[in-house]
């Protein structure tokens, strides 16, 4: 047989190794084709939008493309004093085209982000430039508005020269690069984003904590009750899942408002005076209550699935070995539930940190989160690049939390069910 040559042949005479590879190749292709739709779906719905978001957040080509001559002329300008005549001329020529094409509005908006009050100056220039004569554009432009004599407006234009910028990210943490190119904080009364970031993390943390404290006993009960009761309880836990998020949030609004059921109850049992009903909505309290209730199942289910696998004889063993019920719980039962706690907390925290609808409806001014700010920029100011930058910062934050979690607990310890 073929063993003399050292190679094993199949009955067809093909070396066994090759024939194995061939047959496995088929399987590999089949397996790949099976996952291909999912892969495609992920690329289209996940990778591409994130990539687009990223490029949008750093993209600054719009201004660069609208003022090509200006930026070419500005190359030699040091930015200390007013630019020379050729910059003025180039700007006039660029702007003329924009006005003619009716695209000057975009430039006005963009430059107004950079320097407040730029819009009106540019609008005035758009009206006056038709009557400009040839030559000495510096004089003519400066005559239109006195702000053109202010070097800061020219610096603002120059700052937009690069095609890419990280200014949106700086803005997300209430910083900006000033006229000298240094990164500094914005004035104190305008530092709103940092407050929102801190509040978002704080709310996510406390919602996770409240969810954990409430879900642990529920999950334990679910895992230990006889089947007929635990099924009923499970339905009660899952019921919120079957209700629309909006409906749930709206029902919290009914419950929590000043003339609402909860306040009525507090007055009835004499906890608060009728004329001094506490505000439980349109502030952080409302956000905490509603978000905890809505995210509770995400904590209960991983905990339950882990607790279900813990044999009741372990607690008995602990007790029979002389541990008090409390010791047995903390030394035996609790450590075994850590994978579930990790999964539940990670899940709830990540969901809470990007929560939008609930804080928008019941949060009021002091209960809104960073995602509401992102939505505000998407819908109202239409500053999509800033919204993208903040979205990416949120995503990065989540990834960092995931990384820390992996270092501390290990993601392979997670048990979702």
């Amino acid at each position: 047989m073929s063993s003399e040559t050292g190679k094993i042949l199949t009955t067809d005479g093909i070396p066994l190794e090759e024939s194995l590879k061939q047959s496995e190749k088929k399987n590999k292709i089949k397996a790949f084709l099976l996952v291909a739709p999912l892969l495609l779906f992920l690329i289209i719905t996940y990778m591409i939008p994130i990539g687009d978001m990223f490029s949008r957040s750093i993209d600054d080509k719009m201004v660069t493309n609208m003022l090509p001559k200006t930026y070419k002329a500005m190359e030699n300008w040091d930015g200390k004093e007013l630019p020379p005549e050729e910059v003025f001329e180039a700007f006039y020529l660029d702007y003329k085209i924009l006005v003619k094409n009716k695209t000057a509005g975009k430039l006005q908006t963009q430059l107004n982000y950079e320097k407040n009050g730029f819009k009106s100056v540019l609008k005035k220039l758009a009206r006056k430039q038709k009557k400009f004569g040839e030559g000495n554009y510096k004089e003519q432009i400066m005559k239109v508005h006195k702000r053109w004599r202010n070097v800061e407006y020219w610096r603002a234009i120059k700052r937009r020269a690069p095609s890419y910028t990280y200014s949106k990210y700086l803005k997300g943490i209430d910083m900006y690069s000033n006229e000298d190119g240094k990164i500094v904080q914005v004035t104190e009364d305008r530092r709103i984003h940092r407050i929102l970031w801190i509040r978002t993390v704080e709310v996510a943390f406390f919602v996770t904590l409240f969810c954990f404290l409430m879900a642990y006993p529920i999950a334990h009960l679910l895992a230990t009750l006889p089947m007929k009761y635990s099924n009923l309880l499970m339905i009660c836990v899952l019921l919120p899942f079957w209700t629309s998020l909006l409906v749930r949030t709206a029902s919290w609004m009914i419950l929590l408002q000043q003339q609402g059921i909860v306040n009525d109850f507090f007055v009835w049992i004499g906890l608060v005076a009728d004329d001094n009903r506490p505000e439980m909505m349109y502030n952080k309290t409302g956000t905490y209550v509603a978000m905890t209730q809505i995210l509770l199942p995400f904590m209960v289910l991983p905990l339950y699935s882990v607790m279900k696998t813990i044999s009741p004889s372990l607690m008995r063993a602990g007790k029979s070995l002389g541990a008090t019920p409390a010791t047995a719980f903390f030394k035996v039962y609790f450590p075994l539930t850590i994978p579930g706690i990790g999964a539940g907390c990670l899940l709830v925290f990540i969901l809470a940190i990007g929560y939008y609808i609930t804080p928008a409806l019941v949060g009021g001014a002091s209960g809104t989160l960073i995602s509401n700010q992102i939505a505000y920029h998407m819908k109202s100011t239409l500053d999509w690049s800033f919204a993208s930058a903040m979205g990416l910062m949120l995503l990065t934050g989540v990834l960092v939390i995931y990384w820390i979690y992996n270092k501390l607990v290990g993601v392979d310890n997670i048990k979702l069910g």
Partner: protein, 361 residues
């Protein structure tokens, strides 16, 4: 040290879970100190419930359990000082073998030195010296079982309970573990209460066996007595193999009785029959009935061979005898010149002493 009698005592214990059915009925059981007592019975006979009541995980509905003369019904499990080996081992999966064994010592606030000494000793007792730093998941079933035994013994409990501890092991391992547990018991002299449904296990290991059925102890005696002298037909049926004849007592005198069957009559040993006319089940162990007996025996019958099954060391022969077509004989394979062939008629004999007339089934 003199052994204390009734070290563990069940006194008229009843247990009901639902208020309708008693799973343990009027249980009285005394266990001597240092004894190895097995609770044996089919599933649902109440034996595990008894063990759980002794461990403190269930409370008796009525009656009292005494441990060294002290009533323990109101003592929580962790204060009873009773070691327990669970059916599925119940090792703590997040602790090493060492930590598992140290657990009962730590909760008793022993010093680290003492803990290490005791754990080492316990581990070497079950010959797992080098396994202290393994996790339970890295051990085989048999090794896990030994760790569980060591853990139940490491804090020197006065009583150790074992709830079908060998149920999950394969046959060979089970047998070697039976001997190992028996030897550990003999060497340290702890009182062991052992629950099993495997009669072989019970016969091998125990000093005394309590056979449970229907929430009651049917018989409590040493393994040999249990096998040789069952007091009722349930025990006779449950322990070992057994040939039975149902009939009616026709005569009773001088320690023997005559039992009239549908076809024929046998002379038997009256155990639970008192008077003529009573219904009875006569039980004969297969090895007590001989083929072509040389000595004179007071029961001699002819039977027709219906089945012959070769078992290696012996041959099982099924006969039709006195209308019972399930009559089993065990014939050692050394015996020769026997006419064991399908369809042959052979002479069967047994002593009336070995035919026990018990309660009717």
């Amino acid at each position: 040290m003199s052994k204390k009698e009734d070290f563990v005592k069940f006194d008229k214990v009843d247990k009901s879970y639902d208020g309708k059915v008693l799973v343990v009925k009027d249980l009285n059981l005394d266990i001597e100190e240092g004894e190895f007592v097995t609770m044996l019975g089919p599933s649902g006979s109440g034996k595990t419930t008894c063990l759980m009541m002794l461990a403190g995980f269930e409370t008796p509905t009525n009656g009292e359990i005494y441990l060294d003369k002290n009533p323990i019904s109101n003592i929580p499990p962790h204060k009873r000082g009773i070691g327990m080996v669970f059916q599925n081992y119940a090792l703590f999966p997040h602790m090493t073998v060492f930590e598992n064994l140290a657990f009962p010592l730590k909760v008793r606030k022993m010093s680290q030195v003492e803990i290490e000494k005791k754990v080492d000793k316990a581990l070497s007792m079950v010959s797992l010296g080098g396994f202290a730093n393994r996790m339970p998941g890295q051990l085989s079933g048999g090794q896990q079982q030994r760790v569980a035994v060591a853990r139940a013994l490491v804090f020197d409990p006065s009583v150790v309970l074992m709830d079908e501890p060998l149920g999950a092991l394969d046959k060979n391992l089970r047998e070697s573990m039976q001997y190992e547990i028996k030897h550990i018991h003999e060497s340290i002299g702890v009182t062991v209460v052992y629950v099993t449904h495997d009669q072989g296990e019970a016969l091998t290991m125990s000093n005394r066996i309590a056979v449970f059925n229907d929430g009651k102890v049917q018989q409590l005696s040493s393994p040999d007595k249990l096998y040789e002298e069952p007091v009722n037909s349930f025990v006779a049926e449950f322990i070992g193999e057994n040939n039975t004849f149902g009939g009616e007592v026709s005569e009773i005198s001088n320690g023997t009785c005559r039992v009239k069957l549908e076809k024929g009559e046998i002379i038997a040993n009256p155990i639970s029959v008192k008077s003529v006319g009573e219904k009875t089940t006569v039980s004969i162990r297969p090895e007590r009935a001989l083929i072509n007996p040389k000595d004179r025996m007071d029961n001699n019958q002819k039977g027709k061979i219906e089945e012959v099954i070769y078992h290696g060391d012996h041959t099982r022969v099924r006969l039709n005898l006195l209308g019972n077509s399930e009559f089993i004989l065990k014939v050692p394979n050394s015996s020769q010149n026997l006419d064991i062939k399908l369809g042959n008629e052979i002479n069967i004999g047994w002593n009336s002493h070995d035919a026990r007339a018990l309660d009717p089934k």
